[in-house]
């Protein structure tokens, strides 16, 4: 039985439609990440699930029970807010036990759960402090603790890491992932950070303008983006989206890409595909390699490519990024750090077409 089912959910503020026909279903133990650019309606959707915003249409079921008109406290959820929303005048301990107190849980159980959760989150020494006396990371833990003592059917997280500095964010990310595994909790997690989405999720929902663009596992989203928006949004650096022309020849697909100051680059996809004449070729930077003549990388269908003019070289420690111009668009290749590549010189690049995506230039939808 799905732990959360959202059916044809609509949400508008007056005449403004914020969410359009949202359908999501997740199973127990799933870690669902809602990701999308700022203002796309992620928080609104989360608040609808929590019951903090009334919905305009559709139904929401949690644990099989229709909770559409049910108040937040009766939905069996716990929520961590972006600002942490700790009660400023209460001690950390009171912050964590407030919910239980309101619900009339007996003191002994409160104390036991508080001890359990504060040990788990390593905040035992902070229990008597006020939120104002905590660091950002500590506040974040307390906010988590407040959710954890609930032991709810569903956890809701609204960008819980966005107020932390980069380093702390990475370590808290790992902790959240560990917590998810230890508790086998069901989680809906909002972020606009696609790396957070990729590392945490068992399932990702990509949203734009209140419309779901794609739902799938991180691998599906990464390898088979449903449209150019998802392709561009997920991955860093972003997927290269190169306008190209297609010819069918001898049961193979020939792809012609305009090159600055040179004849068009022609690469061959050995698979016969039914593609329109104009397409947009989507290739991840790591699927563009240095062409080494006979280079057939293990597991790839074929390398195909040619010489291109390199414009910028960006060494990034483990990798070196080389930027060129193809089909009128900047194209980034992720090369091994020791690659001998120089700006304003020609360099042989090869495309691994086994993971290539083809998009329609008209509507941006995936073609293969």
């Amino acid at each position: 039985m799905p732990i959360l089912e959202i059916d044809h959910l609509q949400k508008s503020y007056g005449e403004t439609h914020i969410l359009h026909d949202i359908n999501i279903s997740i199973d127990e133990g799933d870690f669902l990440v809602l990701v999308g650019p700022s203002g796309c309606g992620k928080s609104t959707l989360l608040n609808c699930i929590a019951g903090l915003e009334p919905i305009t249409g559709g139904t929401i079921r949690i644990g099989g029970r229709d909770v559409t008109g049910v108040s937040p406290k009766d939905r069996d959820i716990a929520m961590v807010f972006q600002s942490y929303a700790l009660y400023p005048t209460m001690s950390v301990a009171r912050n964590i036990t407030f919910g239980m107190q309101v619900r009339g849980v007996d003191k002994a159980t409160q104390d036991r759960k508080l001890a359990e959760v504060s040990r788990q989150l390593q905040i035992e020494q902070l229990l008597q402090r006020k939120p104002g006396q905590l660091s950002g990371g500590q506040r974040q833990r307390v906010a988590m603790g407040r959710a954890l003592v609930r032991d709810p059917k569903l956890f809701l997280f609204d960008e819980p890491l966005s107020n932390l500095d980069a380093k702390l964010r990475v370590s808290m990310r790992t902790e959240i992932k560990k917590l998810h595994q230890d508790l086998n909790a069901s989680i809906v997690y909002v972020t606009h950070d696609q790396i957070e989405a990729m590392t945490l999720a068992t399932k990702i929902v990509v949203m734009k303008g209140g419309v779901i663009q794609q739902i799938g596992s991180p691998a599906e989203i990464y390898n088979r983006p449903a449209n150019m928006f998802v392709a561009d949004f997920m991955g860093s650096p972003a997927m290269n989206l190169i306008p190209a022309r297609v010819r069918a020849e001898d049961g193979q697909t020939r792809i012609e890409i305009d090159r600055d100051g040179d004849a068009p680059l022609v690469i061959t996809d050995p698979v016969s595909r039914n593609l329109p004449a104009e397409i947009v070729l989507g290739v991840r930077p790591e699927d563009i390699h240095e062409a080494t003549g006979n280079a057939h990388l293990p597991g790839t269908a074929q390398d195909a490519g040619g010489d291109v003019m390199i414009e910028i070289v960006e060494p990034a420690g483990a990798d070196t990024f080389a930027v060129t111009h193809l089909g009128g668009k900047p194209v980034t290749a992720r090369l091994r750090a020791e690659t001998e590549v120089r700006p304003r010189q020609k360099f042989p690049l090869a495309f691994d077409l086994s993971k290539v995506s083809y998009f329609s230039p008209q509507d941006g939808q995936r073609l293969n």
Partner: protein, 285 residues
């Protein structure tokens, strides 16, 4: 350069001291006059210190001076004022806090219109409401009573107290209320456990403001009180005006100081919080 700024600084202090003296002069005259005998007032200078200090005028003002035909001093009226001001301040502050909480955190359809109407209430001149209010009090059977005065002051104060509390609570992030809702707390629980504990500065502002307004009010007091319910301001007026024969300036001055003492006291005790409450608002953390 530095000598220039020190010069400026001393100039500034000089001006400030001058202004302070100017403001303190009436108080000085009142205080010294109230401690002089009538004889000394007649013969001495207005600004001179009393040659022989006497507390007789204070005793008279407090317990024997005649206000109209009643010669019991300010005492009974002082208690009338206390009985009127304390409940009125408390009620208007509590109602204002609840109103402000609703306007700031529980937006409802038409909330803006309601708030505008309440704000408008702050700007209605006292004189405009005199007649309708008299009629209302008559209909409610509260005419000429202390509860009637409390009612008037509560109604008139709610606009201000609502404004104070709304502006204070509006700076508190909505997520706090949302978190509490998810925790299971309801309307009053959230108010009690989360909003009230952070409200001390604004409660102080509201109490000082309301107390000063209500204690010092004369117009409502003179319009809506009966013989047994006149507040101290009305009595003070009567004492000053009803002296027959020689004008007892010393008694008048003592009475005026007594009537003003409670508001002075409130400022001295809570003035620090008053300033803090007016400038503060956001709750960090």
């Amino acid at each position: 350069m530095t000598s220039n700024t020190t010069l400026l600084r001393w100039g500034l202090y000089g001006i400030l001291i001058l202004f302070a003296l100017f403001y303190l002069l009436p108080l000085f005259v009142m205080l010294t006059t109230s401690l002089k005998s009538l004889e000394e007032i007649r013969t001495g200078s207005l600004l001179a210190l009393p040659r022989a200090i006497t507390f007789q005028p204070w005793l008279e003002a407090w317990s024997t001076a005649c206000a109209g035909t009643q010669c019991e001093g300010l005492r009974p009226f002082f208690w009338n004022s206390v009985l009127m001001a304390v409940p009125a301040v408390m009620i208007s502050t509590v109602v204002g806090a609840l109103n402000g909480y609703v306007f700031a955190q529980w937006r409802f359809p038409g909330a803006n219109l309601f708030f505008a109407a309440i704000l408008f209430g702050c700007f209605i001149p006292f004189q405009v409401v005199l007649m309708p209010m008299a009629r209302m009090l008559g209909l409610m059977g509260l005419a000429g009573t202390i509860p009637g005065l409390i009612f008037v002051h509560v109604i008139y104060g709610i606009g201000f107290t609502t404004l104070f509390f709304r502006n204070y609570y509006v700076t508190i992030p909505q997520e706090l209320v949302r978190a509490a809702k998810v925790d299971g707390a309801g309307f009053f629980r959230i108010f009690w456990s989360i909003f009230l504990p952070i409200s001390l500065p604004i409660i102080t502002v509201s109490v000082i403001w309301q107390f000063t307004q209500i204690w010092n009010d004369f117009l409502f007091g003179v319009s809506f009180s009966g013989p047994g319910s006149q507040p101290v301001t009305v009595a003070l007026n009567n004492i000053v005006n009803s002296t027959t024969g020689v004008k007892a300036y010393n008694v008048d001055m003592a009475a005026a100081i007594i009537a003003a003492l409670p508001t002075l006291l409130v400022y001295v005790v809570a003035g620090k919080y008053f300033i803090r409450g007016l400038t503060a608002g956001s709750v960090k953390g």
